[in-house]
Amino acid sequence: MTERVAAPLEVGAELTPLRLPVITRETLAAFAAVSGDRNPLHLDPDVARAAGEVDVIAHGMLSMAYAGRLLTSLSPPRRVESWRVRFVAKTPLGARPTCRGRVTDIRGEVVVLDIWVELEDGTVTTRGEARCSLVPEGNEV
C-alpha cells in the first residue's frame, strides 16, 4: 500500500510531486475501459490524424484522475468538497506527467489547494483549484 504524505498543511506548502509513468496506448485503452470514454481521439491514430493530431492524445480526465491521487495522498484522508480544472494543453503519447499542488489558503475547516499537471518540458496541461475538508472523511458517516 502506498504511504500517505503528511503534507505540512500551511499556506504556501508544496505537496510532494507525483511523477507518473510514461503514457502509452495501453494506458489510454485501460483508462477508456474504466472511464467509459471511448472517444477514438484517444484510441485510434487514424481518427486522431484526421482531426489534426500527430497521434492519439490522452484523456483530460486521466490527468485529472492522476491529480486526484495528490488529494487522496493527504493524511489523514480528506474529503474533496469541490474541485475544478481547465485542460489547457494536450498530453501526447509518450508524455510523462507530473502532478503538483500547493496550499493557497486555509479557511476554517477547509484547505484550498492549487493543483496542476505538467509535462517534462514544463508545459502545464491541467490546472485548477481544490477545496478539501479538514474533517477526516470517515468521521462524517
Binding site: A30, V34, A50, G60, R84
Partner: protein, 141 residues
C-alpha cells in the same frame, strides 16, 4: 435543456478497477477491511470516479449529436466536481444531466457546450458535475 436521467448501482469491482487503472493503490479503494478501518461504510470512490459513472448515460453524446458534432472534434476544456456528501460502493445513484449553455467563438470555428449533472442518493443531492467541451468546427470534414 434536460437530458435523459439514469440510475447506477456502484459496484466494488468497478471502483477497484478504476483505481487500478490510475495507479491508485490505497486500501480504501480496494479492500473492504481497509475501508472499515477508516470508518468508511464501504469502498471509497476516487475523486473523479463520478465522471466515469456519468458516462453510463444511455446516449453519451446526445447533446453533441443534436448539434451535429462528431465526437472526434471535441476537446474537454473544463471539469468541475462539487461533492456535498461522499459516495461509496453499494450506493445507488440517480443522475440528472442537463445542458446549461452553448456558444461560439472565433467566428464560429469553436463551439462551447456546457453541461451539468446533479447526482442524488435516496432523494439527497450528493454531487454536481460541471463539464465544458470545445467543439472544433474547423476540424469537422
Amino acid at each position: 435543456m434536460k437530458l435523459p436521467g439514469f440510475s447506477v448501482a456502484v459496484e466494488r469491482d468497478e471502483v477497484s478497477s478504476f483505481a487500478r487503472a490510475i495507479g491508485e493503490n490505497r486500501g480504501e479503494y480496494h479492500d473492504i477491511e481497509a475501508a472499515h478501518a477508516l470508518r468508511l461504510p464501504d469502498l471509497a470512490t476516487p475523486p473523479t470516479f463520478l465522471f466515469a459513472l456519468e458516462f453510463r448515460r444511455p446516449q453519451p453524446y446526445l447533446a453533441l449529436e443534436l448539434l451535429g458534432a462528431p465526437v472526434s472534434a471535441i476537446l474537454h476544456a473544463e471539469q468541475g466536481f462539487d461533492h456535498q456528501h461522499p459516495t461509496y460502493a453499494g450506493d445507488r445513484l440517480d443522475f440528472f444531466p442537463q445542458v446549461d449553455d452553448y456558444y461560439e467563438k472565433a467566428a464560429g470555428r469553436l463551439g462551447f457546450l456546457r453541461r451539468r449533472t446533479d447526482i442524488v442518493r435516496d432523494g439527497q443531492t450528493v454531487a454536481r458535475l460541471s463539464n465544458l467541451v470545445a467543439i472544433r468546427w474547423d476540424r469537422v470534414a
